[in-house]
């Protein structure tokens, strides 16, 4: 396989993300059930002309988004752009004020998160993906526990849960010696992957991933991104929310960009580059400005503005303390809205 873990997941020169050979092979063996990038199937989930207001605040206005089987739609936007509101609408947490949702072309109304889950829409939230103080098998089955026995004597089948959880974790490449081990012992990437595998196991057709990589280091993010590619190959529809363009570019078939609660652009893969995405998210100007400031501070005018911007995004710390300071001031914190 590509030695992806020995270097930053996304190289600075905008080279495309290369799929690890092993994953590619697995996908080939799977028989190409996944539809591949950008297809014209009926969207599994589609939001048409959604608006949502909180009092006088416009959280979303006239936003549409769709995702097809075997496709990753990256929802990009800065903090406060309305990404969270949109996914809460898609996952049944709150109904839209106007506009409607369609599944397989049929209009649906989602009553609750449970209702969305039962229809095959599973949402994995960054902070709420797993419960760290519960064991792996308990986490895997929480809310959908397998039971044995009858009525008040129905018991949670711990052995069976442990067996299935271990098996499913192995499937995604995480060896679990003891399924009663607390999830807190897993790394950040593994936790997100567990949550995705769980959703898949319980029959999700649409996966909504809320900032699954933003709190993670490069290696950990790669674990998650790789798993997203694998899930796509199996034919699931994925909505991948992020404000990190670096993580979106390698895996997205489509890009949907939100800015200030409105659609700022929609593209298919190849139609758009990193600078354009950043500009549309509203972060472009700020990064350009940051790069200019950095150049002044460091007296380095040899680098181009773009390179500096990319470096600033990809490098959390720098030999120069002042850079980290400026970065902290100019960039929004790396957290969900």
């Amino acid at each position: 396989m590509q030695p992806i873990d020995e270097r930053p997941s996304v190289p600075h020169d905008n080279a495309p993300f290369t799929m690890p050979a092993e994953t590619a092979q697995r996908i080939a063996e799977y028989g190409g059930k996944g539809a591949g990038p950008v297809n014209d199937k009926v969207p599994v989930l589609e939001a048409r002309d959604i608006s949502k207001y909180f009092g006088r605040v416009i959280a979303l206005e006239h936003v549409s988004l769709s995702v097809r089987p075997g496709e990753v739609n990256c929802l990009l936007g800065d903090n406060g752009a309305g990404k969270s509101t949109l996914i809460k609408t898609l996952s049944g947490v709150h109904p839209p004020d106007t506009g409607s949702l369609y599944m397989d072309g049929q209009q649906v109304t989602l009553q609750s998160p449970r209702d969305a889950l039962d229809r095959g829409i599973a949402t994995v939230y960054q902070d709420l993906a797993v419960l760290p103080l519960m064991s792996i098998s308990r986490n895997f089955f929480v809310g959908s526990e397998p039971t044995r026995g009858w009525g008040p004597f129905a018991r949670f089948d711990v052995t069976e849960a442990g067996r299935i959880a271990t098996e499913q974790m192995l499937e995604i490449g995480i060896q679990v010696r003891d399924p009663s081990q607390l999830v807190g012992t897993l790394s950040g990437g593994e936790r997100q992957t567990l949550a995705i595998a769980r959703a898949e196991y319980f029959g999700a057709r649409v996966l909504i991933l809320d900032e699954p990589t933003s709190a993670l280091g490069v290696k950990e993010a790669a674990i998650v991104l790789r798993h997203v590619i694998w899930v796509r190959a199996k034919g699931l529809a994925v909505i991948f929310i992020t404000h990190n363009v670096q993580h979106a570019l390698p895996i997205a078939d489509r890009f949907t960009i939100l800015s200030h609660g409105r659609l700022a652009g929609e593209f298919v893969r190849g139609e758009v580059d990193q600078d354009e995405l950043l500009r549309l998210m509203g972060g472009g100007e700020e990064l350009t400005e940051l790069a200019r400031e950095l150049d002044e501070l460091m007296g380095a005018d040899t680098r181009t503005i773009e390179q500096a911007a990319v470096a600033a995004e990809a490098t959390p710390t720098s030999p120069d303390g002042s850079l980290a300071e400026v970065e902290a001031e100019e960039l929004p914190p790396d957290s969900p809205d």
């Binding site: 993906a129 419960l131 519960m134 929480v142 949670f156 060896q175 009663s180 593994e190």
Partner: protein
């Protein structure tokens, strides 16, 4: 899938049997119970108290009885705390339930059986109201149940004084004599010269049922999930409000059970009977390995917690230390237990 992922898992040391045991939430409390027992045993031997006092069958029956009473409350409060909630009203619930069962028998001349059933219904009602108030208003349960503590105690005193001109209801034994339900709360058995009360059986049963429910049922899994993060639990379809309300009803019912056993055993009811029991229950839960912030804990651990509490309370008397020092010892045990349990939890969850 990839070498990198496997390498990450390989870095976890393989879990040995002792390590697994040490990663259980009740481990700290178990060791604590052993240590506390040994300390009092050694002190007793130093006093020459072998076969009497602490180191006698009757001594054991006594400190186990004290443990059993608080243990019944402690195990229910542990479940509630694992779900991330507090119930400060259990103490005055004990008082209110004592008065309810006492008044119904002495003042309203109801058969003991009916009085007990009505008292439990009353407790379920108060518990459900606590829970409903908590989930509807989203106020912290600390506040909601603190209010209920005051209301129940005040109303208990007020109503009893109105009806009897006193805050103590006596004559329960005479009024309920011969009722078939009474032995359920008062029976005892003599084993090798020690009189073991039926409250022990109630305690063991409560701990066994709670342990089973917590570790072997869906509901138990929901308790952990709700305490871990009620939002995360709600998003995966756990009926969070139902879980919380049921657990508040459980703590109130445990207070009613405590009250019934005590009223029938002592023959009287007193509004102040349950005072401070709310704190003892929280101490038992925390000593037993339940995380104050919820999401982690053990029903079995509460049994060790209760044992530590009962043993200390009576042990101090047995070895001739002035009982004024009981609270100092209890406070120290609480601090030590929390430190030890926090350390054990960090080890178990792999964070340092």
């Amino acid at each position: 899938m990839s070498t990198a992922v496997t390498a990450e898992s390989d870095r976890l040391r393989s879990a040995s049997r002792t390590r697994l045991l040490a990663s259980r939430p009740e481990f700290g409390a178990f060791i604590g119970a052993l240590v506390v027992f040994l300390i009092f045993a050694v002190l007793s031997i130093l006093r020459g108290d072998v076969g009497k006092g602490f180191l006698s069958i009757q001594g054991a029956a006594s400190f186990l009885e004290v443990s059993a009473y608080v243990g019944i409350i402690g195990v229910a409060v542990s479940l509630l705390m694992i779900a991330g909630e507090f119930d400060l009203s259990v103490g005055s619930m004990i008082g209110a339930a004592s008065l309810a069962v006492g008044l119904l028998i002495v003042q309203f001349h109801l058969p003991a059986f009916i009085a007990v059933v009505l008292t439990f219904l009353f407790a379920f009602g108060i518990g459900a109201f606590n829970g409903w108030l908590r989930v509807k208003t989203r106020l912290p349960s600390f506040i909601v149940t603190l209010a209920m503590l005051l209301i129940l105690r005040g109303a208990g005193i007020g109503i009893t004084r109105l009806l009897t001109g006193n805050t103590i209801v006596s004559g329960v034994t005479e009024a309920s004599a011969g009722d078939p339900i009474v032995p359920l709360f008062t029976a005892s058995i003599n084993i090798a010269g020690g009189e073991f009360k039926i409250v022990l059986l109630w305690w063991f049963a409560a701990v066994a049922i709670a342990t089973w429910a917590l570790t072997r049922t869906r509901f138990g899994n929901w308790i952990f999930a709700v305490g871990g993060s009620d939002l995360a639990a709600r998003y995966v379809g756990v009926p969070v409000n139902r879980v919380k309300i049921l657990l508040f009803m459980t703590t109130a019912a445990s207070a009613a059970l405590f009250a019934c056993i005590q009223v029938f055993s002592f023959g009287s009811a007193d509004v102040l009977r349950g005072a401070n029991k709310e704190f003892e229950a929280i101490i038992i839960a925390v000593v037993g390995g339940t995380l104050l912030t919820g999401g982690y804990g053990s029903a079995l651990g509460s049994a060790f917690g209760a044992f530590i509490l009962g043993t200390t309370q009576l042990g101090i008397n047995f070895v001739g230390i002035n009982s004024d020092w009981y609270q100092v010892v209890l406070g120290s045990i609480l601090l030590l237990a929390v430190l030890a349990n926090t350390y054990l939890l960090r080890r178990a969850s792999g964070t340092r």
